[in-house]
């Protein structure tokens, strides 16, 4: 359990007095226009005192500071183990600004909620990035490519990818080094789960010349069309038509992506487990993200309903997990094939 300080800034009240910055510059950055650049963040507990000082100085009383502690969410990610994300408790943040971009208008209203935020430059880091992205209604993200592939699962609203409408529950995977876009949010906006194998760099291609130059350096241009099959590189909607195959431990698994070892894709599958099935204690060599799609998963006696999201760190022995009374289907994502050790 690690205590964190949560700062929530009511941006509609911030008038740019910049008193928070004057009194606690280490906590309150300003954007280019002089408004508080924070939205809703968790910061280190050591910064509680300056955080409170800056909040007290705000003439609009737009800043609230609270201390949170708990076994779940980002606040506890310093520890190794099983993390259950309290999605409503995790803050929305503005994506980190890029150089030359002003933070207030940055991202055209895009918000980001981090579930797993791996260390950037730590060679020991074995977690992969998981976040929920919120696009405002009708946002069109320009053509771009990533240095790493990207899984997206629509949680609310809708998105279009490769010209196809992706409703709630729709799952897509865009390969690394493939130009695509515009990906667009529907009329109600879009919340989607985004998972990558590693931190990726976005390369926005605003002109045809930029696209041509990228292609000449070995980047694939999808021309915003879906690939014929997942065997091809490009844009894919993962439609869950593959058969479930028995794993041998009483569960069945449907492979959606990346089963072939050695490629640069994450491993995405759905595990189906009958009612009451108990998973024997196990240890994996890779971390695993899980979303309960159907039914429920029981962990240490707590029943986690559909929609629950969990992350199992690698190298930790887990036990006491079983399928709920109506069984469960679990979307699981790993960054690489895992070796599992099952205890008796």
């Amino acid at each position: 359990m690690t205590e964190k300080v949560r700062i929530a800034v009511d941006k509609s009240r911030c008038d740019g007095h910049a008193r928070c910055f004057a009194l606690a510059p280490e906590v309150y950055p300003l954007d280019a226009e002089g408004y508080c650049a924070l939205d809703d963040v968790l910061i280190d507990a050591a910064l509680l005192e300056p955080a409170q000082r800056g909040a007290a100085a705000c003439p609009e009383q737009a800043i609230s500071v609270s201390v949170t502690s708990g076994p779940v969410g980002i606040g506890s990610m310093t520890e190794r183990g099983l993390h259950l994300f309290e999605l409503d408790e995790l803050p929305w943040e503005h994506p980190a600004p890029r150089p030359g971009q002003d933070t207030r208008s940055h991202g055209a209203g895009v918000l980001e909620k981090w579930l797993v935020k791996p260390a950037l430059d730590d060679p020991e880091e074995d977690r992969f990035p998981v976040s929920i992205i919120r696009f405002p209604p009708n946002l069109v993200f320009p053509r771009h490519w990533h240095t790493d592939g990207e899984m997206m699962l629509v949680l609310a609203g809708s998105a279009s990818v490769g010209g196809e409408e992706l409703p709630v529950g729709g799952l897509a995977y865009n390969d690394a080094r493939t130009i695509y876009g515009a990906e667009a949010a529907g009329a109600d906006g879009c919340d989607f789960l985004m998972i990558r194998r590693a931190w990726a760099k976005n390369n926005v291609m605003l002109t045809d010349e930029a696209v041509a130059e990228a292609v000449s350096s070995g980047i694939t241009d999808s021309q915003d069309r879906l690939s014929p099959s997942v065997a091809d590189r490009g844009l894919h909607i993962l439609d869950r038509t593959a058969p479930f195959e028995p794993v041998g431990d009483g569960t069945d698994e449907q492979w959606l992506l990346g089963r072939e070892a050695g490629d640069d894709r994450p491993l995405i599958s759905v595990v189906r487990s009958p009612a009451g099935h108990a998973f024997p204690p196990y240890l994996d060599t890779e971390g695993r993200f899980t979303l309960v799609l159907e039914g429920s998963l029981v962990v240490d006696g707590a029943e986690l309903p559909a929609g629950s999201m969990l992350y199992h760190d690698a190298g930790v022995t887990y036990g006491g997990e079983s399928a709920g009374p109506s069984g469960c289907e679990l979307l699981t994502v790993r960054r690489a094939p895992a070796k599992r050790t099952v205890s008796a």
């Binding site: 008038d15 910049a18 004057a22 226009e33 100085a57 705000c58």
Partner: protein, 403 residues
């Protein structure tokens, strides 16, 4: 006292030396105080009421923000006197160029300008601070940020001499300034902007921001709108900061223990700036009611004017401990609204803070023994701006004290 209040006239010369006793009486009135002077107007004077009034756009317009009402014959200045929904679109083009990151780039220029002028003045035994330093320093800093040639400084000082900075404190000057001088300024500013557009040159300055301002994507400001913006930015940026700097020096030059604190520890200066503008904020904007409504229990009808007495809010003991004392260590307890609040909050506050901080830093380094001339007390002004017309300073240690 009630009689006093019903005849409260911010332009009354006898109030200019010390308006704070009547401000205290105004704060003690329930609801909104009412004066029958100058055509009649309401007065918000408690911190919480002024704060609320400045933020309310539901019943108030800023198209006229004067007592008595004054409308610019050239159209509402942009963005200061533009109401929603157009306001945000007309302010946004200037947000970055007045933002703290951009403004910070001006520090070296401002410091050099302050140091050069102070080193010249330091040769003398006495100076008149307002005209010898505050006005030319602030104008020079303004011209550089604006992007206008510094050789035009005499032209700007001439407008100043023709009454510009008294427009907020003297009703006669206001009429002349509004109808004549401001129209000249507008044309002059348009000269810079037209020339910039014709040259095709892009620069990182205010002229560029005005020249290329768009109300919305693809709808550039008209030439007339560019002129209204140029003049408003000129007016909002000059005598305001010069007045704030002069007011600060009125206090410091007669409180030498506080002066010495800043000489000994210049790191106090940023918080001293905040405290001194809390103590004597300069601008008292008014609002005109355009939709019937209520404020502080007072029913208001279209045409009513409410004066937002920020100077009284800064001395509210409900908001500040010991509000009539200047304390450079107030820090987080200093939630002043000297720059206003809400959508019309001072766009140039980061420039004002920079100019004030740099000036006070250089003053306390280069002429640290200044003090008020006991024979020539400061000439203060009131109205809708708390200002200073004359401030005579002696620069030498006590050996030059005159009997």
């Amino acid at each position: 006292m009630s009689n006093n209040i019903s005849h409260f006239d911010p332009y009354a010369p006898e109030l200019a030396d010390d308006p704070y006793p009547i401000y205290a009486a105004l704060r003690a009135c329930p609801g909104l105080a009412r004066s029958e002077e100058r055509g009649g107007f309401y007065i918000a004077s408690r911190h919480s009421d002024v704060h609320e009034g400045l933020r309310r756009t539901d019943i108030f317009s800023v198209e006229n923000n004067n007592v008595p009402p004054t409308y610019d014959p050239g159209g509402p200045p942009i963005p200061t006197n533009v109401d929603p929904p157009l306001h945000d679109a007309m302010r946004q083009p200037f947000a970055r160029v007045f933002g703290p990151a951009h403004v910070a780039k001006m520090e070296g220029f401002d410091r050099e300008a302050a140091a050069r002028r102070l080193d010249e003045l330091a040769e003398r035994d006495s100076i008149e601070f307002v005209y010898d330093f505050a006005i030319p320093y602030v104008y020079e800093a303004f011209l550089a940020h604006f992007g206008a040639p510094l050789t035009d400084l005499p032209r700007f000082l001439e407008w100043e001499d023709r009454g510009f900075r008294f427009a907020a404190t003297d009703i006669k000057a206001r009429a002349y300034v509004t109808n004549v001088v401001r129209q000249e300024v507008r044309e002059h500013m348009l000269g810079y902007i037209d020339a910039r557009l014709a040259s095709g040159e892009r620069r990182d300055d205010v002229i560029d921001a005005i020249a290329h301002a768009e109300v919305e994507s693809g709808r550039p400001f008209t030439r007339e709108e560019r002129g209204r913006a140029g003049e408003a930015i000129f007016r909002a940026g000059l005598h305001t900061t010069a007045a704030a700097l002069s007011n600060a020096m009125v206090y410091l030059s007669s409180h030498l223990d506080q002066r010495d604190l800043l000489v000994k520890d210049p790191t106090l200066i940023p918080s001293a700036v905040e405290e001194l503008i809390r103590f004597e904020p300069i601008a008292y904007p008014a609002r005109t009611v355009t939709a019937a409504g209520e404020m502080c229990g007072q029913a208001l009808v279209p045409g009513d004017i409410v004066l937002m007495l920020i100077g009284a809010a800064g001395r509210d003991d409900e908001q500040y401990d010991d509000p009539d004392a200047v304390d450079f260590t107030r820090l987080a307890a200093n939630r002043h609204i000297a720059f206003g609040s809400g959508i019309h909050r001072c766009l140039g506050s980061h420039i004002a803070r920079l100019e004030l901080r740099v000036a006070l830093e250089e003053i306390h380094k280069r002429i640290p023994t200044y003090r008020a001339d006991p024979d020539r007390p400061p000439q203060r002004t009131l109205g809708q701006m708390r200002g200073t017309k004359e401030l005579h300073l002696l620069l030498r240690e006590s050996s030059l004290i005159r009997s």
